[in-house]
């Protein structure tokens, strides 16, 4: 890939929630292309470009842990009920207990421990790209930011409470060593990304770990299914 980048990301905790288990969150075994794209976008993104994740190197063994927290659940009450009781100036004094009814929910999260990945990606120009946008320019901006540790907002590993640390892997840099270099495994169907152009339709692909590397098919490839 001529204009590819390689980014080493790691962190102590991560949670890439499986869409079928999102109430009591259970993470996928590895980072999804969608989450990897989010990390790249946290460092540099403009409407003129679109990040495409090509390959994910898994560096650390997959380990899970569980944590249960008090979360806000269904905090909806019917607005018609409210509107009757509410006059503009009295809202200030209207209080309900947050742990009343279903408002407080205790939810467990099955998260990943001690993760490390190398994201290989490139970007394409979108139709929002103007005359002043070139691949080289955005690549330079990304590389400069990643090299200096700059970001737009702190990238995270799935959830914002799990910060992702990152380092750019330069051309002549050593590739971080992987504990899974000999490991191959079928990881099953995994979320590829959300198709925001088509009413936020999720798309899935068959993730296979081969010698510690997952090849990510292009978003519109045949093997990526809705």
């Amino acid at each position: 890939m001529a204009y590819g980048i390689k980014l080493h990301v790691w962190g102590e905790y991560a949670c890439f929630t499986r869409p079928e288990m999102k109430v009591e969150r259970v993470s996928y075994d590895v980072i999804t292309p969608s989450a990897a794209r989010g990390i790249l976008e946290a460092i540099h993104w403009k409407p003129a470009i679109r990040w495409v994740v090509d390959r994910i190197h898994v560096l650390k063994p997959v380990r899970f842990e569980s944590i249960r927290r008090n979360e806000l659940g269904n905090c909806k009450i019917s607005s018609s009920k409210v509107s009757g009781a509410m006059k503009r100036k009295t809202t200030q004094d209207l209080f309900f207990l947050i742990d009343e009814g279903d408002n407080r929910q205790q939810r467990a999260t099955t998260l990943l421990r001690d993760v490390g990945y190398v994201i290989e990606a490139h970007f394409e120009l979108t139709d929002k790209a103007g005359a002043e946008d070139s691949v080289g320019k955005h690549l330079d901006i990304f590389n400069r930011r990643a090299r200096k540790g700059q970001y737009f907002h702190q990238p995270c590993l799935g959830n914002r409470e799990f910060p992702a640390y990152f380092e750019l892997i330069e051309m002549d840099n050593d590739f971080p060593s992987s504990d899974l270099a000999d490991e191959s495994k079928d990881l099953g169907w995994m979320l590829h990304d959300i198709d925001f152009a088509n009413d936020a339709e999720p798309k899935f692909f068959r993730a296979e770990l081969k010698q510690g590397v997952i090849e990510v098919p292009p978003f519109n490839a045949r093997e990526v299914l809705q």
């Binding site: 806000l72 809202t91 309900f96 947050i98 467990a108 540790g149 702190q154 640390y165």
Partner: protein, 289 residues
């Protein structure tokens, strides 16, 4: 004026004979990292305390309402935005008019401190949109393993009349004899731009980190206190150095007792900060306390 610089911070607090954060999965025992036996305090637990402190210290100050209160329902708060702007709420959707949608979200940001700082998902029935806040916290972890104690207590009374002859009831408390916890935090100037999070707001965050445990005393907490807050201020909005490299500059040395064993007081630790070359890199170190 929103903040113009990126910040990272390392925050230390400790607990003596108390339970800093109970684990609902383990019968309210102090949270433990099963791998290392180090204590954990979740991000949301600390954010709750920041909110509570702001609510106390900025009582009724305009712009410092707290959205996620311990005693409120979010829709009532959302409704305020609509009322104030005279927009009719539309079920489950943002107002079609983008201009008005932005007004509603901006109004929420301007009036609620926690929406401005932490962000909020306001996609409830009365919808005010979704914002991501600039302030981000990770889990707090203790420096050394902690040994939680289970303390049995008695009460010289019973709840039910039928238990009258029992005369007293027994209860349990879980305490950590001592634990020093370390937290990493991040403040993104670029997200602050979007929510209007200002330098004055940031000062209040530092203040709340310093003072919040003073107003959170309870039977369960024991003695908790803020010990140290080291802030790294970058000279620009995007930052001048990787966060992990800055965090590595703050090290904790065990000066009494052996590494990897539970400590008994704050004096058992020395916190070191290596500032070498930071100024040239464009990072200013502020030791808030």
């Amino acid at each position: 004026m929103t903040i113009q610089n990126r910040y990272e911070f390392v925050y230390f607090f400790d607990v003596t004979n108390g339970n800093p954060n109970g684990d609902p999965d383990a019968g309210n025992m102090p949270r433990l990292d099963p791998e290392s036996s180090k204590g954990l305090v979740t991000d949301v637990s600390l954010k709750r305390k920041i909110r509570n402190f702001i609510q106390l210290s900025e009582e009724n100050a305009p712009g410092y309402d707290i959205y996620v209160q311990e005693k409120s329902v979010l829709n009532l708060q959302n409704k305020k935005a609509y009322d104030a702007l005279d927009i009719k709420p539309e079920a489950k959707k943002l107002p079609k008019d983008q201009q008005k949608a932005k007004e509603v979200t901006d109004w929420m940001c301007a009036n609620f401190f926690d929406v401005r700082a932490f962000g909020a998902v306001m996609t409830t029935e009365v919808n005010s949109g979704q914002v991501r806040g600039p302030l981000q916290l990770a889990f707090a972890k203790s420096i050394d393993p902690i040994i939680p104690l289970e303390v049995s207590i008695t009460r010289m009374a019973v709840t039910n009349e039928k238990d009258l002859e029992k005369e007293r009831t027994m209860g349990r408390k879980h305490i950590v004899p001592y634990g020093l916890y370390r937290v990493h935090g991040f403040v993104s100037a670029k997200l602050a731009e979007k929510t209007g999070f200002s330098d004055a707001d940031l000062e209040k965050v530092w203040k709340s980190l310093e003072m919040m445990f003073e107003h959170d005393h309870s039977a369960a907490r024991g003695e908790m206190s803020a010990r140290k807050l080291i802030v790294f201020k970058h000279d620009n909005a995007l930052g001048s150095a990787p966060a992990h490299k800055l965090f590595e500059r703050v090290t904790v040395e065990r000066v009494n007792g052996e590494d990897g064993t539970p400590a008994s007081e704050f004096k058992d630790y020395a916190i070191h900060l290596n500032t070498e070359g930071l100024a040239q890199m464009g990072v200013e170190v502020i030791e808030v306390f």
